[in-house]
Subunit: 612 residues, 2 copies
């Protein structure tokens, strides 16, 4: 069996709390657990490796790329670490950010040569504190500026593996590297196999190999590993051929490359597109053969490039179907956010902004939304990830931005999917908006500029295609919700209308903090009831965090939107006027059985839309 | 206005957290807040005063008495404190116990003469730590064994009031005493009024007077208070005439007693019952007159006696109607339990036992039931309050206790209300059991000895007469639940039957800890959804606390039940056999929409009842 001898045998026990988590849908797993699950279900898998880019722009692009590639559901991603920790800070940041902002399980490289024990204690504590739970334990190359007298406190990866296990027990998942064609000139192939066996015995969970271009060599190595009793999963490391330059650089210190490949790349060297096409062909063949031979998964050295890998996955007809949602919002993979199961609704269209704001929290709300947490919100501007995209509306509609009606029209067209982006949305409208889209269009057309909304749901099955989350067997609920900007001129009439609806709670506030509300407590607006579980209420309307969101929401009128226009231009003054004079309003219809928020909205439109 | 000049003006602001509490139904109020609410609603009120009894039996009786009298909903109860703190420990314990075990707001007397400042710092810290939030601040009499050279660090009650406010801000509610006919021979009536004004200005919330037998004197005093600017509530202290002895003792140092009363008591001195009847007559007249004159409430010095006070309240046609429930279980008045809104279902028929076990907890679950809390359960035997009553079944049915069927019959008759008590129940079956009583009878008759159950509720209005809690405007839910003892011979068949019902979760365990379960997590079985609130889930089935409950539940077979019979008697051996061989089982039907727990139970009975 090329898989591994005992599926599950190497899976370590979790000792930290698992309460409050939904059964099958836990995201915060150590990688070995996910691998074993995939092996058990006979689902072939793959992972992506990235390196820290050299520039801030490169980093920003990398995050976008990782997010896009994340939709292919790699079983994990890993982030390299320069020799002697030269990119340590950046590697940490990237791993932490990915782990936090995405549901992707993240592994961080860690090299030990040149590191002191005390320093390593610190690095491991930081890793753990940052919520990173998987480490690729490497020896690493000696740093270039190393003095020859240096006495190494860690000489081999196995010492690092032992050190991690000694200090942190089973907290970390540990991967180690292997060299299918041997590594050092000083040791025989057999000796290296036996060293590898020792590394695994010391506590490594699985193995990733160095570059493999020749599948036969890998398969022989795999058999040899099994023969000496290495029974954990072993993933071959595959490097896509992206272009001539990178291939020829890598091939110099890579292992055996079949002659046919080298020759073909040489032949295509001046044709970038053909090389990429060839790269897809080679990679697809290799992966298909490996899977066919019973290798459960492969590891892609992406070199931070996207195309060849994703085209290969397309060729392999990999299923990118969405998994059932564990919660209405996408869970972060950070170990620190493990207990998190409540968020304020306000950022539901800007989850990255929310994650960026809360990245430095030490605890996350579990079960109840504590007011105490709100002052801990960070500034979104601290994190370039949270920066909204420029509203493309601005370019194509500049000429039209003269009156408030022009702005209404942009929001209306966003609802209809014609305008593709607004700064308040990281993506487009959610699927469940389809049900209320006509109401939203009507609201926006009449100057109620909607940012967020959800329809009422009274006990839908938890595996409902639109509203479901948390797996099957439960029931999910929603209170109808709408949030919009509306002109200050209409606020009084709006408050009057709200008086006729005692089951509704609302908050209204303008940029100068004039505010109106009939509710000062936290209101659960999405919840689910599951067999054998406590009630889960993943989405709340929280008056205190509304204050934080409001500052962010108002700011987008000015930046990025107004700032795109010349000072004193009509468009810029219009957007400044809206910023200064509109209210941000949210309304919850608390009666999720008999309520009628959308009827109320239509009434508002009929009453006020015309009068304006 | 004899009420007070500004209702609400003296109500101090709460600074500690109020989150997670249900609007109108908060139980943990400082007394002044409750008084102001009653004044605002024009609801006359009264309070009861008790003193620490001298014997453990007296104490046990007092608790029962306070609980019974508590059904008359006094606005608060207070506990006296011997001179110089001579009963301090006991007063503390009683106040803490009442505050914890009942929903009654409790005030503790505190005298300062003879106390040092450091000692007082400690006493106040203990008071606060014990969850007592109301203090009657008194000067007190000098302790008897007091040396004449003693220099008093506190000389007057006003110094205590200031000290409390200085150290604890507005945490404590503070009451002070007044003397409608003057107190000291050294001071004029006017001087005393002005001292009283100073006490109030120093931070007292309201006033209770010394014994009043002459309503006119009190009313004059009240007017004089208002005249000098004392505008807080002033409650006249009334002493019921219980019997000749206590009356004549008290009357010696009490204020003016109308001659007619003294003469009438003298006349009836040898007729205890007539004196009591007369006591009810006098007290009713006084209270009625005081209420009529606009006095909002009165304070009864009960002398730990019950009859005259409760008969007086009957005469006054006081409404003892149950308040709408804030939660499915009765809230404790302890400030420390303020956030508590989740409890395991197991003790729902033995709430005092639960409260006694958890009296020493520092934190109470709010929103989520943490496993971590369970090991903190105390032993119920530590608290005599938690001791179950002797099963009266034993006396009347001794002859019948030969076979298990005889035990089944006792449980069945308990369900039917014929047998009045079983050790697993502090009272009789809850109202909502009516709906499933026929199923319970059928279960018990066939050897499924039920301890606890609730029917399924799918979104009843929260003001529903039977299932409602938390006030109006919300929806409440329940998963159907049943818990029973059943013979170990039937366990396999029961588990087989349960396999056919995937929506049910269960736990089964015997006294030797053989156990079966399909659910290791906390399961919410009662929850409510309210406007503008987070979801509340006050009742859960928790596997860890089930272990604690199970020990208690099994123990009752032996003590008090079996132990009532002679050793080697048939009855005792039968009960021991049941203890040793039965399983305690709980079953939750998680599908609260389409589930059918009672159908399943009937099926069990049909299948197994006959086979036995």
């Amino acid at each position: 069996d090329r898989c591994c001898r005992e599926v599950g045998a190497r899976e370590r026990t979790y000792t930290h709390s698992q309460r409050g988590r939904l059964g099958e849908t836990r995201t915060n797993l150590k990688i070995i657990k996910k691998i074993n699950q995939a092996i058990e279900k006979k689902t072939p898998f793959y992972s992506f490796e990235y390196f820290p880019p050299k520039t801030p722009d490169g980093l920003s692009n990398l995050y976008d790329r990782i997010a896009r590639m994340g939709e292919w559901h790699p079983i994990f991603v890993d982030i390299t670490w320069g020799a002697g920790g030269s990119t340590a800070g950046l590697s940490f940041d990237i791993a932490k950010t990915i782990q936090n902002l995405t549901g992707l399980e993240t592994m961080m490289h860690l090299t030990c040569l040149g590191m002191g024990r005390e320093e390593m204690v610190q690095v491991l504590a930081t890793t753990r504190q940052k919520g990173i739970q998987n480490i690729l334990a490497l020896r690493g190359d000696p740093p270039r500026d190393r003095s020859p007298e240096t006495v190494d406190e860690f000489r081999y990866a196995i010492e690092l593996v032992r050190f991690i296990r000694e200090l942190h027990g089973d907290f970390f998942g540990i991967c180690v590297a292997a060299y299918p064609e041997g590594h050092s000139k000083d040791n025989s192939y057999e000796q290296e196999l036996s060293f590898l066996k020792e590394k695994v015995d010391a506590g490594a969970d699985f193995i990733v190999t160095q570059l493999v271009f020749d599948v036969d060599i890998f398969l022989r190595f795999l058999d040899d590993c099994r023969h000496v009793g290495i029974d954990c999963p072993i993933l071959p490391g595959l490097m896509p051929i992206h272009n001539y330059r990178s291939f020829s650089q890598i091939s110099r210190f890579a292992a055996s490359i079949p002659k046919a490949i080298v020759e073909q790349v040489e032949r295509l060297k001046d044709d970038d597109q053909s090389i990429k096409d060839y790269g897809v062909e080679v990679l697809s063949q290799m992966v298909r053969r490996l899977y066919d031979e019973g290798v459960p998964g492969v590891h892609f050295y992406t070199l931070n490039l996207e195309q060849v890998v994703t085209r290969t996955l397309q060729c392999l007809h990999v299923n990118t179907e969405k998994q059932p949602r564990a919660l209405p919002w996408e869970r972060s993979a950070s170990a620190r956010r493990e207990g998190e199961d409540v968020r304020p609704i306000f950022w539901s269209n800007r989850p990255k902004s929310y994650l960026a704001r809360t990245m430095d929290w030490d605890e996350f709300p579990n079960g109840r939304w504590g007011d105490s947490r709100s002052p801990a919100f960070g500034e979104p501007s601290d994190y370039y990830l949270a920066r909204p995209q420029v509203a493309p509306a601005s370019a194509s509609h500049e000429a039209e931005l003269r009156t408030e009606k022009d702005v209404f029209e942009i929001f209306t067209r966003f609802c209809l999917g014609v305008v593709r982006a607004l700064p308040w949305f990281e993506g487009s409208l959610a699927l469940e908006s389809d049900l209320i889209r006509s109401h939203l269009v009507s609201l926006n057309r009449h100057g109620f500029l909607t940012l967020n909304s959800q329809p009422m749901v009274n006990g839908a099955p938890s595996d409902d295609a639109v509203f479901g989350w948390g797996g099957s067997g439960g029931y999910v609920y929603q209170k109808a919700y709408v949030e919009f900007f509306v002109s200050g001129r209409r606020i009084e009439a709006l408050l009057e209308a709200l008086k006729t609806r005692p089951s509704m709670t609302y908050q209204a506030i303008d940029a100068q903090n004039h505010s109106f509300t009939n509710c000062s407590q936290v209101n659960a607006v999405t919840w689910g009831v599951f067999p054998g579980r406590e009630i889960i209420q993943p989405t709340v309307v929280d008056p205190v965090s509304f204050q934080v969101w409001k500052d962010e929401a108002f700011s987008y009128w000015l930046r990025p939107w107004a700032e795109q226009y010349p000072e004193q231009s009509e468009a810029r003054m219009l957007l400044q006027h809206i910023h200064d004079n509109y209210f941000l309003v949210n309304i919850v219809e608390n009666d999720f059985v008999k309520g009628d928020l959308w009827g109320f909205c239509e009434q508002l439109v009929a009453q006020m839309g015309a009068s304006d």
